[in-house]
């Protein structure tokens, strides 16, 4: 942690000798872990985010990521690992939204946004309560909200990887049906793809992905890895496979760029990653608007 603090407070300088810079950066284990974890989360976030943007469930995604904040706060309060708190709260919030917002038949998500808003208010309030009960240590609060990538342990990387593989495996299994149900719900329903069950499964997947991303960017900046790469990719291409692939590339590029920037400057990593993702969004927006 002290090395991390020293490194991120601007003691290291960019030399323009790229090979040396990279070697220098990766001589710190915390940087290696940050890149490992960031890459895993960038891939998972981009793939799940692509479906989320397609299904217009960004509000639900936002709420699930906000649930990471009380999750981490509660875990700190009762003295268990923050990672467990992230996953438990995000997946629980996903279940609540899935159960409470039963869409009537095949008619979309009309009831969902009200439920999502209610859940979001409650989880934010809970997070504030847990943080208050813990009695301070404001830096911990900051990390929960805005991310702190330079304290990630090997165990956390393994957990992120395992959950990531599980999420991608589930999506590989149901991906085609989910695509069908997302853009053509009536016909998909008539074909018996199980629209409602797919909706629940996707919310759980989204909860797990939001919990992963929260650990890199913090609860409030999750969209940097969940929405931005997918939104950029869908603006660039209407092909599903190419879109998902592009979203993954953008997510990885933003993460690597952001982590490098955070290492060489004193700016927080959450801000740096978000800045790179936002730059991609603005660039594509300008190119498309100009075309």
């Amino acid at each position: 942690m002290t090395i991390a603090a020293a490194a991120t407070s601007g003691d290291v300088t960019w030399s323009w000798n790229l090979l040396n810079d990279v070697r220098d950066m990766f001589s710190y284990p915390f940087m290696v872990n940050a890149f490992r974890a960031g890459t895993i989360v960038a891939i998972v976030g981009a793939v799940v985010g692509w479906y989320m943007v397609l299904r217009k469930q960004t509000f639900a995604g936002h709420t699930l990521s906000v649930a990471a904040f009380p999750g981490a706060a509660a875990a700190t309060l009762i003295g268990v690992s923050a990672t467990a708190g992230y996953f438990a709260f995000c997946v629980a919030a996903a279940l609540v939204i899935a159960i409470a917002s039963r869409p009537s038949g095949s008619r979309g998500f009309s009831a969902e946004s009200a439920v999502v808003g209610t859940v979001q208010a409650f989880v934010l309030a809970s997070g504030y309560l847990f943080a208050t009960l813990y009695n301070g240590l404001l830096s911990g609060l900051n990390n929960q909200l805005f991310g702190f990538t330079f304290g990630i342990t090997n165990d956390q990387v393994v957990t992120l990887g395992a959950v990531g593989v599980l999420v991608l495996a589930v999506l590989a299994l149901i991906g085609r049906r989910l695509f069908f149900a997302s853009i053509d719900v009536d016909v998909a329903d008539a074909r018996g793809v199980g629209v409602r069950l797919l909706g629940v499964a996707f919310l759980l997947v989204l909860g797990a992905a939001a919990a992963e991303a929260s650990q890199i960017t913090g609860a409030l900046l999750v969209f940097a890895l969940l929405v931005m790469p997918a939104a950029v990719a869908q603006r660039v291409t209407a092909r599903p496979v190419a879109g998902i692939g592009l979203a993954v590339l953008i997510g990885i590029a933003a993460t690597w760029g952001g982590l490098t920037m955070a290492y060489y400057t004193s700016y927080p990593s959450g801000f740096c990653i978000t800045t790179f993702a936002f730059a991609a969004f603005v660039a594509v927006h300008r190119v498309r608007a100009g075309a």
């Binding site: 397609l54 853009i183 998909a188 008539a190 793809v193 209407a238 092909r239 599903p240």
Partner: protein, 276 residues
């Protein structure tokens, strides 16, 4: 029934909604290869009749068969186009992908891009898109296409598994007149050239009138079947509605039904099917 076999048959069929029957004692015989329209005012249960044929809604009485099998068991033989779905203009998904979903969108797992099966699927999708004259716009995002173009792609989606029966719920709804006649002509071509039986819910019979072999006219809780010339007449419809109805023929051959009572609700009735 000698030359052609039965595609769809309803025997003394009834459907219950709430405490009452939406329609009852309905008898329908559609022979394979026919182009049949289901007509009637809003809220009378036209979409419900389709859902009974699909086996999605159970019958309160009677029986329904599709190609001789109980309704719901032969759905692989049916291409179904539900009531007009609008795609969000911002939806960035290509028309060809929407058609492809009709072929294998209900499968688990992912298609391997280099497999022979995947190439075969791609070939079938391109073929059916060619068949509905949609090749020139199938690669554009479907949200950017016009209503008529979207409808062609949706028909391709319903046809991509080579169904023997095509069921369409108001496919001409919310299209302009030139597109209505173009889509009607396309559906006739699918029926005559492709040998596909077509069962189509229509609000206005005129765009398809010249192509119809049979109409099923639902009103007043019952139904009358027969050729358009037999069914769409003042005496037949007056008896069905139990109120005086006049059928007028304009100079260009269009039929206008005057005096038919419309159900008051226009949206909810399509899904709940209130009897009037």
């Amino acid at each position: 029934m000698t030359a052609s076999s039965s595609a769809v048959a309803l025997r003394d069929a009834a459907v219950q909604v709430g405490d009452g029957l939406l329609w009852h004692d309905v008898n329908v015989d559609v022979a394979a290869g026919q182009f049949v329209a289901i007509l009637g005012p809003n809220g009378v249960g036209k979409s419900t009749l389709i859902k009974a044929v699909l086996g999605v809604i159970p019958l309160a009485a009677g029986a329904a068969t599709v190609f001789g099998q109980p309704a719901g068991t032969a759905n692989r033989e049916i291409g179904y186009l539900p009531q007009r779905r609008s795609f969000d203009p911002s939806l960035r998904v290509r028309g060809i992908d929407v058609v492809r979903l009709g072929l294998d969108g209900d499968r688990f797992g992912l298609p391997l891009p280099w497999s022979a099966k995947n190439r075969e699927a791609g070939r079938r999708v391109r073929e059916v898109i060619e068949r509905v004259d949609a090749s020139s716009f199938a690669l554009r995002p479907i949200g950017e296409l016009s209503g008529g173009e979207q409808q062609r792609l949706l028909i391709a989606q319903a046809l991509v598994r080579d169904p023997r029966l095509l069921i369409l719920d108001e496919p001409l709804d919310s299209l302009d007149l030139p597109n209505q006649s173009a889509i009607a002509e396309l559906i006739r071509r699918v029926c005559v050239d492709g040998g596909v039986t077509v069962l189509m819910v229509a609000h206005d019979v005129n765009p398809i009138l010249p192509y119809l072999d049979q109409v099923i006219y639902l009103a007043g809780g019952g139904a009358v079947c027969g050729t358009p010339a037999e069914v769409i007449t003042s005496p037949t419809l007056s008896a069905l509605y139990q109120t005086p109805i006049e059928v007028l023929r304009t100079s260009d051959g269009r039929l206008v039904v005057v005096g038919q009572p419309e159900a008051p609700a226009h949206h909810a009735d399509r899904h709940t099917g209130h009897p009037h």
